[in-house]
């Protein structure tokens, strides 16, 4: 296992961007158009929780049966964790994020403007038309806040630049088995896309791709599905056991890696791209589509088992579990479900279950 490329810490990146006169957007899960944010001068910084923070603030607004990504995000904002940001973007991915967006707008009313984005759940052509218009509405709000007015060609340039970065991200995933990076380093690299500007991310990605080895990884290979690989102890535990995650079906990972659009209209192109993304729970994809996609991922990656890593109370993910696990079982592929709260350490019970899963792999 080699050391991964050096990646700047989130706070350093943010403060550098600010020193250069840029603004920062706190972006909640799952999907947000990075290209638009960058075109209007915002550095998109994603907020998946973060894990392990005091919950007092969020607990006075949200019931305990709300997932820890949403509760932590609100607590983080209320405790000043997002003070360095200039806007908060809350895409609509589930009922809990919907509630958070609504509470922020109507009751909490933070210093930063709160923007929302509704992503369509309908698969037809009307959804594409709607999404292009919705992105245009969002762009209008970004323009009003930033004072910038990029033209269509500038917007399109940002869209294609993001597509190029996504292409590199896709290459990293494809080359996963041949990259001598441990699980922690690999996810640190790929998840740096959540906050790095384009250039540093692409530089790091190319450095990692240059580490490509002729003899690929031959140990126990896993696929991880679910929401977000936090707490990181899960990845550490796998590293310690010599097991490798060879591909993912994570909400923060491959599930939102969409192929490029084709239109020359930047909004239509973004909508096309999003619509052609992989099957996903938060889109409300069919069970069949998700089953087939997961089985294909297992097959193409050579994964020998699947770890479903869920955040407790994540309704979209929970609905698909019985069907996905049954499909895996029918193919003789072992799987395990590990449910976590972002504020808890990975439990000994979870580690025992991981060990049991690894023992089942020949």
């Amino acid at each position: 296992v080699a050391a991964g490329p050096e990646i700047a810490a989130r706070h350093e990146v943010m403060s550098r961007h600010r020193q250069q006169g840029g603004q920062i957007a706190a972006v909640l899960p799952v999907y947000a158009p990075r290209a638009l944010l960058r075109a209007y001068g915002f550095l998109p910084v994603e907020v998946w929780g973060p894990p392990g923070i005091p919950l007092a603030g969020g607990a006075s607004h949200l019931q305990p049966y709300v997932c820890s990504i949403v509760r932590n995000a609100l607590s983080f904002l209320l405790s000043g964790g997002l003070d360095a940001t200039d806007i908060v973007l809350v895409p609509h991915a589930c009922d809990s994020l919907q509630g958070l967006g609504s509470i922020l707008l109507d009751f909490v009313k933070p210093r930063q403007p709160v923007l929302t984005l509704y992503l369509p759940r309908h698969g037809g052509g009307s959804a594409g038309t709607y999404l292009a218009a919705e992105l245009q509405r969002l762009a209008g709000e970004l323009q009003a806040i930033s004072g910038r007015a990029p033209g269509p060609s500038e917007l399109l340039a940002h869209v294609t630049a993001e597509e190029e970065a996504d292409g590199l991200l896709a290459q990293l995933h494809s080359a996963r088995r041949a990259l001598p990076l441990g699980n922690v380093d690999f996810f640190r690299l790929t998840r740096s896309r959540e906050y790095l500007p384009l250039e540093p991310f692409m530089r790091s990605a190319r450095q990692a791709l240059a580490l490509h080895q002729e003899s690929p990884f031959g140990g126990k290979a896993l696929l991880i599905s679910g929401v977000v690989p936090e707490p990181m102890q899960l990845l550490q535990a796998l590293d310690e056991r010599g097991a490798r995650i060879v591909t993912d079906d994570l909400l923060c990972g491959l599930r939102r890696l969409c192929p490029p659009g084709r239109s020359r209209d930047p909004f239509v192109r973004l909508a096309e791209s999003w619509q052609s993304g992989p099957p996903d729970s938060t889109r409300g994809s069919s069970l069949e589509a998700r089953r087939e996609y997961l089985l294909r991922l297992v097959e193409t990656s050579g994964a020998q088992a699947v770890v479903f890593h869920l955040v407790k109370f994540c309704e979209p993910e929970l609905f698909y579990m019985p069907s996905l696990r049954k499909a895996l079982l029918e193919r003789g592929i072992p799987s395990v479900v590990i449910e976590v709260d972002l504020n808890d350490e990975l439990s000994q019970q979870s580690i025992t279950r991981l060990d049991a899963l690894l023992e089942m792999i020949p």
Partner: protein
């Protein structure tokens, strides 16, 4: 199916069954004459209640024999259904079915069946109840007809999207999704309304294809007209509770709301609610109060606790607390102004985009504030329903505003609408007693 079997089924569904249900209704009405009250603290049940029970029982009876006779659509409670009714579909509301299981106290057993099949206890208990019923074949309504079409509208929650995906996978029938973007601000955007409209058009095309017939505009308008009339009557009934003392309680409304949810385009629904309105008016004229000696009037927010309806009603009535209004039952009346029978398509788009659950927490707070004024309310009970996140998120801030700005005691009552394992009588009794004391102190 053999002709003899078909005739036997027809005879049971149309003659024998309904006759038996009529006998039950007459018996219930007869028994009600001598009824002193459900408890000394509550008025007698409304005389129209047995009629409602008969309507609902007939509906499920008909459903039992609908497969092969009529096309069947399973729909979410907020879905646009007027075109389905106009196309002759028999409609099944899985949410209503789950609520029946809840009141019949069989929901937990059914939930456990779904849980054994891998569905987490953190999922909505309506879903678990219905999936448990589907997998076990057990239901208090006899038998649910297999759907030919599924229609899910996201205007109440995203849960229905996943739920109906599971149903579509199980039944292998077409699923129509009507996705209504959440309205964070006062008005939906034009592109959101156009998107909803395009999907309703697509839904009609699919429903026509499955039904093998074309939607006739005049029939559609007639159904829309009946929907609007029934909705207006329902709203009028609820508004009569502005009277002091309130003639009926929100618990009566919970029990008698099934027709407005699942039969709102039918003529019998109009007749029923017209009769109910007459009875409510008669109560006002003769001074009958839902809670005799009414001392405090409160609002109920969120779904009811189906398996403890009566217990909670009695617990509150003992303290002179009448629950006279509910944001939940109000949701089926407040959209009446949007329904325009002369422009069914356009009006449906707005009616189905603007339900309370598809709007922000601030909008719900303003609705509650308005209801507090209209119904002269002293306090609010917010049922923090573990199974309904869209309804429950925002309640903590709403409670703070109600208690702070409006100086109304507001109680957050933790429970679940269908899963009684998330509810304890003792804890609820303590919380409600404390709430009553807050009202006393304020008085």
């Amino acid at each position: 199916m053999k002709l003899s079997d078909a005739l036997a089924r027809l005879a049971y569904a149309q003659v024998v069954g309904p006759a038996a249900l009529r006998v039950v209704r007459v018996q219930s009405e007869w028994q009600a004459r001598g009824e002193v009250g459900r408890s000394p603290h509550l008025a007698s049940a409304l005389k129209v209640a047995p009629r409602c029970k008969e309507m609902i029982a007939r509906h499920w009876l008909e459903g039992r024999y609908a497969a092969g006779v009529r096309k069947v659509a399973w729909v979410t409670s907020g879905a646009p259904v007027e075109f389905l009714t106009a196309l002759g579909y028999f409609l099944v509301y899985p949410e209503n079915h789950a609520a029946i299981c809840g009141t019949a106290r069989v929901a937990v057993d059914l939930c456990q069946v779904a849980e054994a099949a891998g569905y987490s206890r953190d999922l909505c208990s309506y879903v678990r109840t219905d999936l448990g019923s589907l997998y076990s074949g057990r239901t208090p309504v006899g038998r649910l007809p297999r759907p030919d079409l599924l229609v899910a509208c996201t205007n109440i929650c995203q849960t229905v999207l996943f739920w109906y995906r599971v149903l579509a996978d199980h039944f292998r029938v077409p699923l129509v999704i009507v996705d209504t973007p959440f309205v964070y601000s006062e008005q939906a955007t034009d592109h959101a309304l156009q998107y909803a409209g395009a999907q309703i058009d697509e839904a009609i095309a699919v429903a026509e294809h499955v039904a093998g017939r074309t939607l006739r505009e005049r029939t559609y308008e007639a159904v829309a007209l009946r929907s609007r009339r029934a909705t207006e009557l329902w709203l009028e009934i609820m508004q009569q509770n502005g009277h002091i003392p309130a003639p009926i309680s929100a618990f009566d409304q919970f029990v008698l709301m099934a027709p407005i949810v699942e039969m709102r385009g039918q003529a019998q629904t109009i007749d029923f609610y017209a009769a109910m309105l007459d009875e409510v008016d008669a109560r006002i004229r003769t001074g009958v109060a839902a809670v005799p000696g009414e001392r405090f009037r409160v609002l109920w927010d969120n779904l009811p606790i189906w398996y403890r309806l009566r217990a909670v009603a009695e617990m509150l009535a003992e303290r002179g607390i009448a629950v006279v209004a509910s944001t939940y039952t109000n949701a089926w009346g407040e959209l009446a102004p949007y329904l325009d029978p002369e422009a069914p398509r356009e009006s449906m788009i707005r009616a189905y985009t603007y339900p309370i659950l598809n709007r922000g927490s601030g909008h719900k707070l303003r609705t509650m504030q308005r209801m507090i004024e209209d119904y002269h309310l002293d306090g609010v009970i917010l049922h923090s329903d573990r199974s309904c996140k869209p309804y429950s998120l925002g309640q903590m801030d709403q409670r703070d505003h109600l208690a702070g700005d409006l100086r109304r005691p507001a109680l957050l009552l933790e429970a679940d609408h269908n899963d009684s394992r998330c509810y304890t009588d003792e804890q609820a009794a303590n919380r409600l007693a404390a709430f009553a004391e807050m009202m006393e102190a304020r008085a």
